[in-house]
Amino acid sequence: MKVALETNQLMAFAMKQIEPHVVAAYPITPSTEVVQEFSQYVANGDVRTEFVAVESEHSAMSACLAASLAGARVMTATASQGLAFMWEMLHIASASRAPIVTIVANRALSAPINIHGDHSDAMGARDTGWIQLWAESAQEAYDNVIQAIRIGEDPRVRFPVLVNYDGFTTSHAVETVEVLEDEEVRKFIGSFPRPEVNFLNIEKPASFGVLALQDYYMEFKRAQAEAYKNVKPVVLEVAEAYAKLTGRKYGLIEEYKLEDADVVLVAMNSAAGTAKETVDKLRQAGKKVGVLKIRLFRPFPIEEVASALKGAKAVVVMDRAYTYGGPAGPLFCDIAAALTNVAQRPLLGNVVAGLGGRDITMEHVEHMFNLGYKALERGSFEPLVTWVGVRE
């Protein structure tokens, strides 16, 4: 079935199809409509979800966490400061193995106050232990959120998932997308696999939020770190099953014209689309360029990234966020880490673009590829980090 909806409305529609047991949320631009539209499905009796309009994101994630630990299927949506305000509980959710799915319309962080798209919010949640899926388009956002439920809830995984797409650029854009029937979605995600250990299992009373000091804290964290190794195969399995159902096949990353590419641009979310367009244009002019798009950002698919980039001569990593005071953008640091033990490394450079909703145009992307060609001439990226599309 085809529908034309704003991405936020589409996400609400997906939530309706998923019919989580509990949704606790607080409004924030640009993700407000997701939960607002969903609350209307609740009010109309289209779903039997318990919807709680809490008083802050801090409370939203606290309520989601408790509901998830009680054995409920739980979803919420937020952005920017809202995700930042959830930060405390984000760590607890992943460490408690609560498979909450949180939809994020990525937006810049204050200060200055800005309501438009960039990746600062999700990058701030980078080390919280949440699985992160990223989407170039409304279609991908829809497909990701359905898959996120099954990935997060898989007994081999049981981690919370952030489903990202760009604020405004994607969240407020209308796109014609292919959606599943409600029944197909419910069959695909299955019933919620009730965890053996949960709040409401009176046969097996359990305690959550235990204290572990010098004696056991580190073992807990080591076990958690180890558990992410299970995620990649499950993401691929779920993608395989989803492809059988829809014909749309997803990987951990997407390689666009990389086979013979000399200069590769790494991108996430909507800018990847702009980058692909630019690649087509530059290829007509005889330039061997390509795009590597990251779909699964956490856990970071090191091997797949290293393998995808091994043939490139220069790699430009586009960050739509920055690590202030750090060596380079957050995505760059991950890409560089992925290539650490690769014998023949391409030259690596970083561009920072599109902060606070600044447009990333095809001209900007062309400039980014040119930085790669310049680096090939000189033998290195000088400087390592270039800000593109900024008045200096």
């Binding site: 409004p27 924030i28 607002q36 209307q40 309009a53 008083e55 802050s56 400061q81 106050i113």
Partner: protein, 270 residues
């Protein structure tokens, strides 16, 4: 009449004209509140650099940008902790915080209670339009029971919060409620709150025709303002009752408690 009343100098001195026109919808009550606030700054003879205006996020949050004073626009819910820091560091400054209902008693509700408990010298003007306006009309903590909003299409199931009673109960030493239908009285109440040495709360019933009005069958701001006139009564306590009307007035003005930043200084002196 017009030529006998001299034009107020307040807007000229206290409004940053370069940021106009403001972003508020036509018919919004925030303009009335802002105007009355700056009129009182002028009447009190304060200087622009000795007034600090602190706001959080939301429609009301945008007010700080328009005031020609020391201003800070902080994050959602955090106006009062920010104002607390400023007042503790500079007790000599007049610290005014403009809050919305969502910002002030929703996401920032805990801070509201504690600022009241501490009796710190901040004037908290809570512009209560009973809805989240900036994000598109979601139910807020003060949305009345049964009222429709974008998140409560069949009416709000929860009881609503009474800001004046909350301030009263939390121990604010000055508590008042006014509304935008009577700007002169609103101004007088704001002036008394500004002069109060302690935590002062002025709850202002304000109209949001765009969302609250549309959902409640009053999309005309004039109708909403009339509603305030007809559905309020002068009272001495937020607990006073008269039919189904909302009490307005100065409910508490207690000078017996020491303001916190001054109490600290006094302790240092000892």
């Amino acid at each position: 009449m017009a030529d006998r009343i001299p034009l107020s100098k307040a807007p000229e001195r206290w409004i940053r004209k370069k940021y106009l026109p403001h972003i508020w919808c036509p018919g919004c009550g925030l303009g009335t509140v802002l105007r009355q606030l700056v009129e009182q700054f002028e009447k009190l003879g304060w200087n622009n650099d000795e007034v600090v205006v602190v706001t959080g996020i939301g429609c009301t949050g945008r007010a700080s940008g328009y005031v020609n004073a020391q201003t800070i626009h902080t994050i959602h819910g955090r106006a009062l902790p920010t104002a607390t820091g400023i007042k503790m560091a500079r007790p000599d400054m007049h610290v005014v915080s403009l809050l919305g209902d969502g910002d002030g008693v929703g996401i920032g509700g805990n801070h509201f209670i504690h600022a009241a408990k501490r009796n710190i010298g901040i004037t908290a003007i809570v512009v209560n339009n009973r809805i989240y306006g900036m994000t598109g009309g979601q139910a807020s903590p003060t949305t009345p029971t049964g009222t429709k909003s974008s998140t409560t299409p069949y009416g709000n199931l929860e009881p609503s919060m009474d800001i004046s009673k909350l301030a009263f109960g939390a121990g604010a030493t000055f508590v008042a409620r006014a509304h935008t239908a009577n700007p002169v009285y609103l101004g007088q109440v704001i002036r008394r709150a500004l002069e109060h040495d302690g935590f002062a709360v002025v709850e202002v019933l304000s109209q949001c025709p765009t969302y609250f009005g549309r959902y409640t069958g009053m999309p005309d701001p004039v109708e909403m303002v009339k509603w305030f006139q007809e559905n309020t009564f002068m009272a001495k306590s937020p607990y006073d009752e008269q039919e189904d009307k909302i009490p307005v007035g100065v409910f508490r003005d207690d000078k017996n408690f020491r303001e916190l930043s001054k109490a600290y200084r006094a302790l240092w002196e000892e």
